[in-house]
Amino acid sequence: MKPLRALVVEDDPEDFMLVEHELRRGGFAPEMLRVETQEEMREALRGRDWDVILSDFRLPVFSAPEALRVLHETGLDIPLLIVSGTVGEQEGLEMMRAGARDYFPKDRIARLAAAVTRELAEAEARRARVRAEMERALLARVGEVLTAPMDFEQWLARLVRLPIPTLADCCAIFLCEEGDSLRLAALAHEKSEAERLEHEPRTRRSPEASIGPSHVLRTGQPELIADVAERQAQLTQDPAHQRFVSALGLRSALYVPLRGHPGALGVLALGTLGRRRLGREDLVMAQELARRVSLVLDNALLFQEMQDAVRLRDDFLTVAAHELRTPLTTLQLQLGALTQRARRDSAAPDFSERLERCQRQVRRLGTLVEALLDVSRLSSGQMLLQPERVDLGELVAEVVDRHAAEAQGARCEVRLEARPGLYGQWDRLRVDQAVSSLLSNALKFGSGQPVEVRVTGAGGVARVEVGDRGIGIPPEQLERIFERFERAVSSRSYGGLGLGLYLARRVAEAHGGHVWAQARPGGGAAFTLELPLESAEVHA
């Protein structure tokens, strides 16, 4: 026997019994209610769910057309069939045009049960179609929100609005926070005033809770509470759940865990009000929703973690830079002052020369410290430039000048050939750093031989070429030497951190230029730094 909830609009108790008899004969175990007036029918529709409505055509104070109107007002999809001794073919067809599903004069009542079976199947199919369409539309909207670029909190607030009113009457996202607490991160409710309810956004997770968000987090299993009122006693165990339910006046609730790479991220909660109740099919949908939300939530959290790590590293680098530079400054100034005094007081002949050597080493230490700090900063993130109008020839001449002592030490004659008037919008310090590392590199590997520096410009770009006659670079190493910590030769024979060329490349790229190395015909290597010229200079 199939259960059937039938609402019967009928004034005659005998006809009511006849209908019941027919339904039983057709294999139903009907649960029936008889109503005679508009008010009674409204009350019955408000009070509970019905599978079918069977209506007499004419009643003393009511009628089938009025019953149909009452049903349409509720918006419910319940099949209504006319069962009446007085309904003729003409009226029957008219009623079907108005929305009745079928009509049965009393002489054809034997076919009623079969018609009810058919109507139930069709109503079920209609509901499934509507449901599928609702789910498809909801997931599409969720997809739109998940991929929209927005602030994390904004994103949560938009997300909890989406399931309302199609899937549920309210929706909330609880997120796990440090120290075992749960934060009500976003809440949307059919009645917007409920969203403004005074609530403490954080609660402790309750280890004893046998239902609710804390329980779902602990078990990792979704939870459907079809009738909240029945489980009122257990609510007190989970403060988060208690607040969610009692503040909103929920009928049913559904909790699904949100999971990501660190484990539990939080809980997605859905709730209904009034007569509506969440069921098994909503559970499947909520799980799909939770899966998609978790994915994006996980990414957002990873991104946040990464940003925190970068901030931490930057803070460390700022402190490290300050700590390393302070003693270098002291040394540099003291050595400077001592050198001056040694010269002035004509101290022992090699005294000032030794002090100068000390100064050179301190400067070198300073350069290494800067390079190390630069590389740590650049390992993740972009090089920030502070462009200004720079005369390249002048800048290169300054760099060559500054390396005079180093060149002398390496027994290299530096030949500079610079075209004047090559201007660009460049970061002076960075370009200086790039040219310095090319020159240092040439002096280091081309010792004892002349080093040629040429500054040229053509076709919108300026070039600094630094050529040496040193040991050269094997062809397979020409690219690798621009990698971090890379060098073409063993680190034992030549000093340095292997960072200069890497930094030079980063500088060039940050300016939209290039740097590359070539083997020189006749031995040695040539390095070229190419930078875009100021646009006016292209035509000059």
Partner: protein, 121 residues
């Protein structure tokens, strides 16, 4: 009129001493402070006011930015130029309320040049 001294503010005693030596060698009178709070006290009892403040940015008690914010509240100090030791390649001097900057490590010549450029006599 008495010559204006230079005020050197740095929490590192050795560096303070090194800067002081260099500036004295170059003929300046130098007074020192070990942090921003200390520097404000020194300023308050200076007569005449320093011709220049050489200011470290990272210091305990009151850092360079905090010192500059305090100085802005006292109009009588507004005329004293401040040169900061900056970690960034070109700090926003206007925002800080400073006149010039030097980057650590600075060598003797560069330091003297900045000082002579900004110091009031």
């Amino acid at each position: 009129m008495k010559a204006r001294p230079l005020l050197v503010v740095d929490d590192d005693a050795d560096l303070r001493e090194a800067i002081t030596d260099v500036l004295r060698d170059a003929g300046y009178e130098v007074i020192v402070a070990s942090n921003g709070r200390n520097a404000l006290e020194v300023l308050a009892r200076s007569n005449p006011l320093p011709g220049l403040v050489l200011l470290d940015m990272m210091m305990p008690v009151l850092d360079g930015a905090g010192f500059l914010a305090e100085v802005r509240k006292h109009p009588q100090f507004a005329a004293v130029p401040v040169v900061v030791f900056s970690a960034s390649a070109s700090p926003n001097l206007q925002e800080l309320g400073a006149r010039g900057w030097v980057r650590k490590p600075v060598d003797l010549e560069a330091l003297l040049e900045v000082v002579s450029q900004h110091a009031l006599t």
